[in-house]
């Protein structure tokens, strides 16, 4: 969450609640409801690191708002974040562990494991399809997110097929 918040501040100063709203608008229903508390905690940490600086603004009827702004170090950190390629998601090693160890334990059948995992993935895929249908068609970002998940799932399912071929 750190760097996305930093990046959002690059377009201009904002306070915590505005940042929450911006995240929601951006990611839509694919992103779980942002936890306000979490945001404030993260903002505090960022300020301590010196990447942002905050400023209290007095309000008449409500408690003070703290408006945050990027520092030069912060801007540098955002730029570096964009420049650096991100790591790819790792293979789900927990399932692979199960698969590899099962024959030795004698407690589980490899093929049955694979079948169960496949059913899980298919059901997840079904849910994702429903989500995509429910989500606003024009929210391209949300749609892209969902499609990305689906493609990953497809890759996982293909890998399961390979496992079944090799291990049978």
């Amino acid at each position: 969450m750190r760097l996305p918040l930093l990046a959002l501040l690059a377009s201009g100063p904002a306070h915590g609640y505005e940042l929450k709203q911006a995240l929601e608008k951006l990611l839509g229903a694919a992103y779980p409801q942002p936890n306000v508390g979490q945001i404030y905690v993260t903002l505090g940490r960022l300020e301590k690191s010196g990447l942002i600086e905050g400023e209290d603004v007095a309000q008449s009827t409500r408690p003070n708002k703290r408006i945050y702004r990027l520092t030069d170090a912060g801007r540098e950190a955002v730029r570096a974040w964009f420049e650096e390629p991100t790591d790819e998601p790792r293979v789900r090693d927990e399932f692979f562990m199960k698969l590899a160890i099962a024959p030795q334990t004698g407690l589980a059948d490899q093929i049955a494991l694979i079948n169960k995992q496949r059913r899980q993935y298919l059901n997840t895929m079904r849910e994702l399809s429903r989500l995509a249908a429910a989500e606003d068609r024009d929210n391209r970002v949300a749609q892209l997110l969902i499609e990305g998940a689906m493609l990953h799932l497809q890759a996982d399912l293909d890998w399961l097929e390979r496992c079944q071929e090799e291990l049978e």
Binding site: P4, N123, R162
Partner: protein, 266 residues
């Protein structure tokens, strides 16, 4: 009967005591090509009830297409029997299968669905004429279907002038013009881009919602997940036959919004 009526008693969950639409027992088919013979289908038992949407997945070369061809009478099994709506089809010759395909089974392939020298309209009307409809009736059915599939205005085009997705939609129209009991689809979106795949999927779901029984071979997980039942086919045999239901208990439930989709590091 127009397509908007759903036949009574069918739907995504057919009553358990209705006889199955398709029943296959012990199907075996071996291909004799160059080199060693390949056992494409080895002892497959399959039952499909009315209104079910069954997807068959598996690696390529596993024999999924052959299974579909056997169900549609395009190839004859070396051993085993097939019952269609209670009738045993073992003694059926090529002509009888052809007659069955006219009225009761519609088939969509990955390629080569359309007769290349007929217009779109002729392609869709041909099965209707074959089944004995009058030209007027055939034309009416065709118009309705093409409208449903979003292809008005393309009646006079030749298949060569259409995009891949449009061709598959025309193929679907052709397969459904006679309101067949069973629709067999072999990789219907196999040669399409993601948009084309979405279109085909949407149409299949729509017809399924109206009670159409569909057996589909696919390697696309998204298409498979749209089905009620997914059969995993490995090496000529059925490895798994799973009914998909996201509301079934026992599945790991995640938070709403599929929070597992995007996990932002802290």
């Amino acid at each position: 009967m127009s397509l908007s009526e759903a036949p009574a008693g069918t739907g995504p969950t057919a009553p358990a005591d209705a006889p199955p639409l398709v029943r296959a027992e012990g199907l075996v088919k071996t291909h004799h090509g160059e080199g060693a013979p390949a056992r494409a289908v080895r002892g497959v038992d399959l039952t499909v009830s009315r209104g079910e949407f069954v997807a068959v997945t598996g690696p390529s070369g596993a024999g999924k297409s052959t299974l579909l061809h056997l169900l549609g009478g395009l190839q004859k099994p070396d051993a085993g029997s097939i019952w269609f709506d209670g009738t045993c089809l073992d003694s059926y010759g090529e002509s009888q299968w052809a007659v069955l395909r006219r009225r009761r089974i519609g088939i969509v392939f990955q390629f080569f669905n359309l007769v290349s020298n007929l217009t779109v309209a002729d392609n869709v009307e041909l099965p209707a004429l074959l089944a004995g409809s009058s030209p007027k009736g055939a034309r009416a059915d065709r118009a309705e279907l093409l409208a449903e599939l979003g292809l008005e205005g393309k009646e006079r085009s030749m298949p060569g002038e259409l995009s891949g997705g449009e061709q598959q939609r025309v193929a679907l129209a052709r397969a459904l013009v006679n309101h067949p009991d069973l629709l067999l689809a072999d990789e219907p979106a196999g040669s399409l881009d993601s948009r084309g795949t979405r279109e085909v999927l949407r149409l299949l779901s729509r017809f399924h919602g109206r009670g159409q029984t569909i057996v589909m071979v696919t390697h696309d997980a998204r298409m498979a997940s749209a089905a009620d039942r997914v059969i995993s086919f490995f090496d000529g045999r059925i490895a798994d036959d799973a009914a998909l239901d996201a509301d079934a208990p026992g599945l790991r439930r995640r938070g709403k919004g599929v929070s597992g989709v995007l996990e932002l590091k802290d």
